[in-house]
C-alpha cells in the first residue's frame, strides 16, 4: 500500500475540510491510508499528491465525489439508540399533532416535515418512517414529508434504492419489522414501497447554506457534527435553528451536546433521552 507523507496529510486534510467540512485528525495516518488507499489503487495513482492534484483539476468533480464517499463515515443502523425513536413516538410527534390539530381544528391534514440531516444509507429515515406508520394508522389524515440528505453520493443512492444486505439489515431491526416492512429478493432486502414513498433524498453539504430546504418540525442531526470543528458546529446548529419551526424539535447524537455550541436551543428531557427545542 502506498504510504502517505506528513506533507500529503496536511494538504489532503485541508482539501477534505474544504470540500466537506470533515475535520480529520492529522495524527490518524491509518484513517487516510485505509480509506483513501483503495481509491488510489483503483484510479492508478502513484501517490496521494497525485490524487490531490487530479481531484483539484477535475472540472466534473467526479474524483471529489469519490473522495467524499471514501472518507465519510457511514456507520449507521436501523433504530440506532432506541432513545430518539421513543422520544419521537411518545413525545415529539404526539405534541406536534395535538398543537396542530387544535390550530386547524381538523379541517386540513396535519402537516409534519422531518429532516434527517446526515441520513447516510437511509436507515435512520426509514426507522423514522416505520415509527410514524405504526403511530399513525390513518396516514391520510396527515401530510407527512421526510427528507434525507447526506454529503456522500453513494450513500444517498443506496438510501434512495432502499436496498440492504444481510449484515446491514440484521443490525437493529427486529424480525417482525423486517418481515413487515421489507421484502427479500435474492440476498437483498428492499424497503416496501409504502415506506419508501414517505421519504425523499438528496445530496447536501451541511457546510453550505441550506435555508432553501424550507421549515422543519423535527430535525435529526446525529453523529455528524462530531466530525466538524467547533466553529463549524456552531454555524451548523445556528442554521438548523433558523429552519426549525418554533415548536419543533432537534435530536442530536446520544453523546453530543449543544452547551456552548448553540445557546438558542434548550435541552428537554423525556424518559432517558434528551431532545432540543428553541428557547421561547
Amino acid at each position: 500500500m502506498t504510504k502517505i507523507t506528513p506533507n500529503e496529510i496536511k494538504i489532503i486534510s485541508k482539501y477534505i475540510y474544504d470540500i466537506s467540512g470533515i475535520y480529520l485528525d492529522q495524527t490518524k495516518i491509518y484513517l487516510f491510508e485505509t480509506r483513501l488507499g483503495p481509491l488510489l489503487e483503483k484510479e492508478g495513482f502513484s501517490s496521494y499528491s497525485e490524487l490531490y492534484q487530479k481531484a483539484r483539476a477535475d472540472p466534473g468533480k467526479k474524483l471529489e465525489i469519490k473522495i467524499i464517499d471514501a472518507i465519510s463515515t457511514n456507520e449507521t443502523l436501523f433504530f440506532r439508540d432506541t432513545g430518539p425513536f421513543e422520544v419521537l413516538r411518545h413525545k415529539v410527534v404526539p405534541d406536534i399533532i395535538d398543537a396542530r390539530s387544535a390550530k386547524f381544528s381538523g379541517l386540513l391534514p396535519t402537516s409534519i416535515r422531518i429532516w434527517s440531516a446526515a441520513c447516510s444509507t437511509g436507515q435512520e429515515i426509514y426507522s423514522i418512517a416505520i415509527v410514524l406508520k405504526e403511530l399513525l394508522p390513518d396516514m391520510k389524515k396527515y401530510n407527512i414529508k421526510l427528507l434525507g440528505t447526506d454529503i456522500s453520493d453513494a450513500a444517498v443512492a443506496q438510501a434512495s434504492y432502499g436496498k440492504y444486505n444481510k449484515f446491514e439489515i440484521e443490525r437493529g431491526l427486529a424480525k417482525d419489522k423486517l418481515q413487515k416492512y421489507f421484502s427479500l429478493s435474492g440476498n437483498t432486502w428492499k424497503i416496501k414501497d409504502e415506506i419508501r414513498a414517505m421519504a425523499s433524498f438528496r445530496k447536501l453539504n451541511l457546510m453550505l447554506p441550506f435555508a432553501a430546504l424550507g421549515k422543519f418540525d423535527i430535525v435529526f442531526c446525529r453523529n455528524v457534527a462530531i466530525y466538524f470543528n467547533m466553529e463549524d458546529r456552531k454555524k451548523l446548529f445556528n442554521k438548523i435553528a433558523d429552519l426549525l419551526a418554533p415548536d419543533g424539535c432537534l435530536i442530536v447524537g446520544s453523546t453530543e451536546t449543544l452547551s456552548g455550541i448553540c445557546p438558542r436551543f434548550e435541552p428537554k428531557r423525556h424518559m432517558r433521552s434528551i431532545f432540543y427545542q428553541l428557547k421561547k
Binding site: N187, T255, P267
Partner: protein
C-alpha cells in the same frame, strides 16, 4: 475438534461414506442426511454452521429446497452446494438465493477444506465485529447518560445565572434586597 458444525446431504451412499470419512479426519463435527427430506428434518431440530448439500436429489426436496429450509430456520448458517458440471446454471441461481458458494463434482477436498476455513474465518470476524459493536454500544450508552445528565445540569445552571443577572441589574430595587434574592436563587436546588 474444529469449530464448525456441518450437515452433509447426499443421496449417493458412496459419496456419503467418503465425505463422512474425510470430514472426520479433518475433525469436523459432522451429521449426515441421506436425502433432502431428512436434511430438512435435521435443520428444523438442530443448529448447524454449514450445510453442504448435493444440488440434484430425488424425493421432493433437492439442494435448493435444503437451501431455502436452512435460510428460513437459521439465516446465519452458510450453505454450500455440490453440483455436476451440467447444472452449474442452477448453482448460480442458488447463489442468488443466498448460498455461500458451490463446488463442482468430483469434489476436490483441498478446495472444500479451504472453503470451510474461509467460512470459519468469516464467522470469527463476524463475531469479533459483533463483540466490538457490543462493547462500543455499552460504552456509548454509559457516556450518553453522563453527558446528558451534565447537559441538563448546565442548562439549569445557565437558567439560574440569567435569573440572577436579571435580578442584580434591577436598579430600582434596594441593593441588599437584590443580593438577598440572588442568594436565595443560588441556594435553591
Amino acid at each position: 475438534m474444529k469449530d464448525l458444525k456441518i450437515l452433509f446431504v447426499d443421496d449417493d451412499p458412496v459419496t456419503r461414506k467418503l465425505m463422512e470419512k474425510k470430514l472426520q479426519i479433518e475433525e469436523y463435527e459432522t451429521t449426515i442426511a441421506v436425502n433432502g427430506v431428512e436434511a430438512v428434518d435435521f435443520i428444523s431440530k438442530y443448529r448447524f454452521d454449514v450445510v453442504l448439500t448435493d444440488l440434484m436429489m430425488p424425493g421432493g426436496v433437492d439442494g435448493i429446497g435444503v437451501l431455502q429450509a436452512t435460510k428460513e430456520k437459521s439465516p446465519q448458517t452458510d450453505v454450500v452446494l455440490i453440483t455436476a458440471y451440467a447444472s452449474i446454471d442452477n448453482a448460480v441461481t442458488a447463489m442468488r438465493q443466498g448460498a455461500f458458494d458451490y463446488l463442482q463434482k468430483p469434489i476436490n477436498f483441498d478446495e472444500l477444506f479451504l472453503l470451510l476455513d474461509k467460512i470459519s474465518n468469516l464467522k470469527k470476524l463476524g463475531k469479533a465485529a459483533g463483540d466490538l459493536r457490543e462493547a462500543m454500544d455499552v460504552t456509548e450508552c454509559n457516556a450518553a447518560q453522563t453527558i446528558q445528565d451534565l447537559e441538563m445540569s448546565v442548562s439549569e445552571l445557565n437558567g439560574k445565572i440569567s435569573e440572577i443577572s436579571h435580578i442584580l441589574s434591577k436598579k430600582n430595587v434596594d441593593a441588599a434586597k437584590r443580593v438577598s434574592i440572588a442568594l436565595d436563587i443560588i441556594s435553591a436546588t
